[in-house]
């Protein structure tokens, strides 16, 4: 599991609006890559192109290439559904399915695809995924209760469990901690650290310390002015970005001296 992603000359549009311009980067396998940058610069947009969730929005499209282990995700014969099975996603706001129990939520990726699933296999998969998301001990006695009855942090970990239950190669997380308290945030950061031994993880965050704590590489996005497309200013090892960035804009942003 876990694959390398090469993005080449990616341009992203919402209808007529050019949202992100000419991004090229490499995301290494078994590592955590963080995207940072001011609001509206296109971090979420770039993230969503990595599993073809961008095109779900009416009118949205992209040009350029995203290669996952040399296979172009945007090739004509690539099925977006197939891409999404390999590249999982965790959203900013926890979004468990309200009609399902905790257990059903975890297994949703499998059952919604109506793969056959025996009771014992389901039990094993649910436990393994919940343990993987550090949630098992908290919910093991109430697996049949609705997922929406959990706290926000637990719900977010439930969503992570749901994402890893389908065993993707890559996991994308869009500000997974922005709705959470510091303790839940720490729990999720620990989790991200564990996940990177099995998965390629990409995370968007506004929290610079978080990026420094969890990521191996960091990409800084910026935009010249509102209405202009965002772009990738630089991408490097996290240590380097936070200690000795090569672009002044990055330096300004991480040291908090910013517009």
């Amino acid at each position: 599991m876990s694959k390398r992603i090469d993005v080449k000359n990616l341009d992203i549009y919402y209808g007529a609006f050019h949202a992100v311009k000419n991004v090229s980067m490499t995301i290494e396998p078994r590592s955590v890559t963080a995207f940072i940058g001011p609001s509206g610069c296109g971090k979420s947009t770039v993230l969503r192109t990595l599993n073809r969730m961008h095109e779900v929005i009416p009118g949205a499209y992209t040009t350029g290439e995203v290669l996952m282990d040399d296979k172009n995700l945007y090739a004509k014969d690539t099925d977006p559904v197939d891409v999404r099975r390999q590249v999982g996603m965790v959203f900013q706001r926890p979004n468990p399915f309200p009609t399902m129990s905790i257990r059903e939520n975890v297994l949703a990726g499998v059952t919604l695809n109506s793969k056959r699933l025996s009771k014992s296999a389901a039990d094993e998969l649910a436990e393994q995924s919940l343990r993987g998301a550090n949630l098992w001990t908290e919910v093991k006695d109430r697996l049949d209760r609705p997922g929406s009855g959990l706290s926000g942090g637990q719900q977010q970990r439930l969503c992570i469990a749901r994402a890893i239950a389908v065993q993707p190669e890559v996991i994308l997380m869009d500000e997974p901690c922005s709705a959470l308290d510091p303790i839940s945030t720490l729990a999720i950061e620990d989790l991200i650290n564990e996940l990177k031994s099995d998965y390629t993880v990409v995370i968007v965050t506004h929290n610079m310390q978080q990026a420094a704590r969890v990521s191996d590489r960091t990409g800084f996005f910026n935009l010249e002015a509102t209405g202009m497309p965002g772009e990738l200013v630089e991408m490097d090892d996290t240590q380097k970005i936070f200690s000795n960035p090569s672009k002044p804009a990055t330096e300004d942003y991480i040291s908090g001296r910013f517009g």
Partner: protein
Amino acid sequence: MSLDTAPTPPQERKQRKLSEIEGVELEVVRASSNRLSLLALGGAAVLLVLLVVLGLNPALALVAAFVVYLGVVFVAYRNTAGPRVARDHVFRGLVGAAFVLAVVPLLSLLWTVVSQGGPTLVDPAFLNQTMNGVTGLQDQATQRDGAPLIGGAYHAVIGTLVITGIAALISVPIGVFTAIFLVEYQPKGRVSQVIRFLVDVMTGIPSIVAGLFAFALWAVLFGIGTKNGFAGAVALSVLMISTVVRNSEEMLRIVPNELREASLALGVPKWRTIAKVVLPTAASGLASGVTLAIARVIGETAPLLVAVGYARGLNVDPSQGPMNTLAVYAYYMFTKPLSPGFREPSLDRAWAAALMLVLIVVVLNLSARVIAKAFAPKTGR
């Protein structure tokens, strides 16, 4: 976004207190209780009684007492608690009056139907017999000699259930699928705009037009003058589909987009996302929308009269000849009593049929609630 790091210049004007700014006048609010408004209400009631005793038309007296109440409450509260509280009390009065105005006719209608139709509805003859072979002579005997009622609405109840059931079977799939297309597949497309427009137009179609449409369609398909249950079901569907589309569209639209995205991001294909995430999440709303649509057409009279005709006996085969339905049955009993000289039994039957219709609608609504409960997203810990 500029990157210059110079500190922003200090604000030119210092923040002033709201009370220091000219042209701002804050309203005074002092503590108050409801006692004054209760007193005023009591006073208004006394006034009402007085006016009626003095010979004023009761409706006029009621309006006058209400206006006086509003005036008294306004003045009393403005002087004790301030104008904002006074306005609040006046609006409470208006809103309360609107509520009463809305509820009174409803209760009075229910009471009329129950009291007029109740005794006949519980008569075993009414729900067990048809009108087959019943003539004015039996009614004469019933009214004049107190003989037991003969002839009921069994066939009409069955007819109503059959025809509305078929209409629901036709319109629910069409309506829900159209709504799915509108919300999930083409939220902004040209085709959707056209469909929405047509659905809006269809909502306004007078029911008799739907009946004539079904009648004409059947004339073309099966020969002029063909009347049967299916024709009625088609007429009702024409009326129902637009309601089902509208209601379902609303319900699908309020399913949070995040759920769709969550499902898609798990690698679930779109159609499966719709079938297994969107529809179950919206199920309770869809169910109540459908029941409301059924409730709306179940009492239709004119289109059924045109398309289905009128049968005196039981006919359970919707492909074969006229059937009877409750609304048409009630209409006939009112307008064409079996025995013009002895109308009572026919009128009783009409009221009972009306009550039966109301009961069916109530049951439908209740079952919609039960279904909605069963499907509703689970919450709580």
